[in-house]
């Protein structure tokens, strides 16, 4: 029950963080003006642990579930933004020039060259967004309502140390499963196709 609640929160929060972070990252990577104005703001925001936002979020969302989503999304978004931005900025100029000689215009260049070229960075971004989001969620649930975090606190309140440890193990196992079975698999597939795979 608590587990599904937490999982639902992380999946929705993570997806939104990837979407919002992705869009913002593309904007920063493509537009110089956006980068110069918003870029340093994003870097500043990234250095704030997202849990710090929880008190404000609790007030704004009146203690509702929205507050926890807010913190999770905020936890993952910036890592995604900065990685996509870097991916787009680091696209080899020769690829863009080559595509221009084939008649691609600026909008098409973004979709057909810059975005595909930044897939490895996007994967790194998503992986970080997941890690930050998961941590932010657990911290938020300890203070807020519902989910594994809350159950953990309840267990502590009843001095049920077995349950505390069990929940901690569940929390780390979920992190590990996603990290190793989901992201690692995708990453390995993409990197080997690109010829970027590290000999490991």
């Amino acid at each position: 029950m608590a587990l599904t609640e937490s999982l639902q929160r992380i999946v929705i929060g993570f997806s939104l963080a990837v979407i919002i972070g992705g869009i913002l990252g593309i904007l920063l990577g493509v537009s110089k003006i956006a980068d110069e104005t918003l870029g340093s703001l994003v870097i500043a925001l990234q250095s704030v642990p997202s849990i710090v936002w929880l008190p404000i979020a609790l007030i704004v969302f009146q203690g509702g579930a929205g507050a926890i989503y807010f913190v999770v999304i905020l936890g993952g978004t910036w890592a995604m933004t900065l990685n996509i931005r870097m991916g787009i900025k680091n696209v080899q100029p020769i690829l863009i020039r080559a595509a221009r000689t084939m008649g691609y215009n600026n909008t098409e260049l973004i979709w057909r060259v810059m975005l595909p070229a930044s897939i490895p960075s996007a994967l790194t971004g998503a992986r970080l967004a997941w890690a930050f989001g998961w941590r932010a969620l657990m911290a938020a649930e300890l203070i807020g309502r519902g989910g594994l975090g809350r159950t953990l606190m309840d267990a502590r309140d009843f001095f049920n140390m077995d349950l505390v440890v069990a929940i901690m193990i569940i929390i780390s196992i979920i992190g590990l499963i996603v990290e190793y079975f989901f992201f690692s698999k995708i990453e390995r597939k993409v990197l080997s196709r690109w010829g970027l795979a590290k000999a490991s």
Binding site: Q92, I94, L95, R97, A98, A99, R100, T101, M102, G103, Y104, R112, V113, P116, A117, I119, R193, W194, G195, L196
Partner: protein, 281 residues
């Protein structure tokens, strides 16, 4: 197959630091006839790539104009296929997809695929259609790049030191391949190179460019029957003639870059007599 007309083109880069602007070349006029193979030869930094990029539409000229057929060039377009020194293949696409990448603006998926297969066959890469760029050798990548440029069926093929990064054997093989493709497709080709022998081997005309001031020094017509033999006396004679002018230009560049202590005897030693040295200028 179209005529390329370059008319009094000038390229000036705006002030890098305080010493004002830098003019790479000016008043460059050159006509490349339909189906002609013309090489641009010259020392490093004389503006060969700059001129080629202006024709490609990737760079803007500061003055003058370039026409392909009757059309004035305003930007890049698929009427001019470009092959760069690095193959510039998209690493996330396989060989076939890299070629259809150039066609998807013109054709439907199925048609583009058939078309791409045809051109990959032309460069003898049918077996590698489903490989990714990192699985190919440098020469193979460059052939994909050539197939990609040709598949758009451009009026003009622009090549910027396409074989500069390849070893001697691969380069010789690709020379044969390019001549075959040129005869087969009758394309107008503008070809940038450092290599005197390569330019004589392939071109109808060789445009020798120089620096300070940048511009065309001399145009050589290569009147030798094909396939050409680098060991024939006419070939060697032309090679030495070009070398003597080029050595002077290179000396100028080196003097500028190395300062006054550069001694010209060294230049003639380095670039004067040894034929093989000339390949690597």
């Amino acid at each position: 197959m179209e005529r390329v007309v370059i008319e009094e083109v000038e390229k000036t880069f705006p002030n890098k630091e305080k010493d004002g602007s830098f003019t790479v070349f000016k008043d460059i006029s050159l006509t490349v006839d339909p189906g002609e193979f013309v090489s641009l030869l010259g020392p490093s930094g004389c503006g060969k790539s700059t001129l080629l990029n202006i024709v490609a539409g990737l760079d803007q000229s500061t003055a003058g104009e370039v026409k392909v057929g009757d059309k004035k060039i305003k930007g890049p377009g698929s009427d001019r296929g470009v092959v760069f020194q690095e193959a510039a293949l998209m690493p996330w696409l396989n060989v076939l997809e890299n070629v259809t990448f150039a066609l998807r603006k013109k054709m439907k998926k199925e048609e583009a695929k058939k078309h791409a297969e045809k051109y990959l066959k032309l460069v003898h890469l049918s077996k590698f259609m489903h490989s990714y760029p990192h699985e190919l050798s440098g020469g193979m990548k460059q052939r994909v790049s050539i197939a990609r440029a040709l598949s758009m069926d451009p009026a003009v093929l622009l090549m910027d030191e396409p074989f500069g990064a390849l070893d001697e054997q691969t380069r010789m093989m690709l020379h044969r391949e390019v001549q075959f493709i040129w005869q087969e497709t009758q394309k107008t080709i503008l070809f940038v190179t450092h290599n005197i022998r390569e330019s004589i081997l392939l071109s109808d005309r060789i445009v020798l460019m120089g620096t300070r001031p940048g511009g065309i020094r001399k145009i050589f017509t290569v009147d030798l029957p094909r396939p050409r033999k680098p060991s024939s006396p006419e070939f060697i004679k032309l090679e030495e003639e070009i070398m003597s002018i080029l050595a002077g230009e290179i000396e100028k560049v080196m003097k500028e870059e190395m300062g006054d202590d550069f001694n010209s005897k060294k230049a003639s030693l380095l670039y004067g007599t040894d034929r093989n040295m000339g390949n690597h200028i």
